[in-house]
Symmetry: C2
Subunit: 311 residues, 2 copies
């Protein structure tokens, strides 16, 4: 771990996910540099605050920057911008690169590792799956409502030493981190939750997950959507455990009136990650000849609903 | 036709459909009595006005009543209340009945003839399918944007003399009326349009039919929904013509920024006929073992969207 503390780490996108996971490493004493956009002045002045169920963590001296040129070459880059801004990575990432720089996308949905691999080389690319309820409630202030598991893996091949080191650091920081033997499997597993809950929360009229589960029709639809995702994943060789549907429903019940992140984005007028969460899985399933009619319908509805030109 | 003018006719529900079709008969000189709710005083004072593409028809002396007791027994009753108020028919209809009174439901969706047959006897029941663009723009004022075909048939058995007489009267009044040899077939035919357009107009975020057709995903979804309805109808022996999907798309294109009636209801905070248009077809298809996954999803979403308890 001492070695890890000498690594220079950048966090690109310091909203809920970047602020939380980067903040946990910074609080541990790691050398973390945050690229901050809208909240830059506030974070420079007051640092980051993580409100956890068990208490508040303050990182008053969080290092915040307005550009990656100011940060310079790093050993490790945690990428936590919205996928709808992925186009910006083409210019944001190069100043951070040296020969061995690892790029870890903590983003939602499918296609992010591929995008980074195309731009910067596949050997650099890692991914992290965040199974967590977070919300940025004010500039530099992130609330953590529970859960928090983080599964870290390689885009290509088996987990390397760098993945194990990152998992160890997160564990020491109090994050329930683990190695993802197959990052792709974990991505599909996360979609099993995100596709129905993030999607129906918007498409059924701005409702929270408890309302979805209390509605007979939407609960049934949730199960069917989960089954479509599990079926598509299996077609790509990613066999998710039987019982996952019920397990996901069970784990959602205690969340109460939780707003999925896409609903928060939608209600705030921010871009919704429609392509990463619904579009790309649909395109892949369709190309592979898997029937995903409900996913398709949800994708088409969400694409329109987020186009902001209704009556 | 002289005989027809001696018939006493009641119109139950004098919104767009009842006001328009009842108004056409009244303008022809038929003996029409309108049950009017919210607009009673205005219609008593100013009568009805039908704004047609080819000019305005004024019926200043339209007979408006606040209760069916005031109207009394009739030969023919045109029923044009929203299906969401069908429960009221149990008390509204009896004062209008004598031995031979025919009940003609002009309502949307499936299940209305069955409901009337259960309450008042199947031999009384007829139905009319209105393929028309109407809107009640002010109390007693109905705008007619085009189309207007009316298909009239019997709930049980072949068309009787009363159906032919009603069609003749409507034709004389300038309505493009015809006999429906099979009322059930016509109901399914109408659903082929109503299910996708009325449904997606709401579920895709309050959009007009031109926006639906200009969106690649929603246009594809419209076709798939139409195919599901055609498949369900076929299972019940109602074989709709091949090419109907494209024909319905073609006939919708010139409608421009048309708001389907359910969207107008939804945006005005009025009840949407979710059960008649989506719920009942879904229940019947499901009971018959027909796969209607998209119809089901649309039904579940609309049921929730019209429940008025979002964030």
């Amino acid at each position: 771990m001492d070695d890890f503390k000498h690594l220079k780490i950048a966090v690109i996108g310091s909203g809920a996910v970047g602020g939380y996971y980067g903040g946990k490493l910074a609080a541990l004493g790691c050398n973390v540099h945050f690229l901050v956009r809208g909240d830059l002045e506030e974070v420079k002045r007051s640092g980051l605050t993580l409100r956890e169920p068990e208490g508040e963590i303050r990182i008053p001296d969080a290092r915040a920057y307005g550009s990656t040129n100011e940060i310079g070459p790093c050993d490790l880059v945690l990428i936590a911008i919205k996928t709808t801004s992925n186009g910006a990575l083409e210019t944001l990432i190069p100043p951070l690169l040296k020969k061995e720089t690892a790029l870890v996308t903590l983003q939602n949905g499918l296609g992010n590792e591929e995008y980074l691999a195309d731009l910067f080389g596949r050997e650099r690319v890692m991914g992290g799956l965040c199974f967590v309820c977070l919300n940025r409630v004010a500039p530099g202030v992130i609330e953590h409502y529970g859960h928090g598991a983080l599964a870290i893996g390689e885009f290509c091949g088996a987990p390397q030493a760098r993945a194990h080191a990152l998992v160890s650091a997160f564990k020491e920081a109090g994050v329930d981190a683990r190695i993802a033997e197959s990052l792709a499997l974990e991505r599909w597993r996360k979609l099993v939750w995100n596709v129905p809950f993030n999607g129906l929360a918007i498409a059924a009229g701005n409702i929270t997950v408890d309302v979805i589960l209390a509605d007979d029709g939407l609960r049934s639809l949730t199960r069917h959507l989960m089954e479509e995702i599990i079926g598509a994943a299996a077609k790509f060789g990613h066999h998710l455990p039987s019982g996952l549907v019920e397990q996901q429903i069970e784990r959602t019940l205690p969340m109460g009136a939780y707003k999925p992140s896409s609903l928060i984005d939608f209600m705030s007028g921010r871009a919704v990650e429609v392509e990463a969460i619904w579009g790309e899985p649909w395109r892949r399933a369709k190309a592979a000849g898997v029937s995903v009619d409900r996913l398709e319908m949800l994708y088409f509805l969400l694409k329109r609903l987020t186009a902001h030109s209704s009556l």
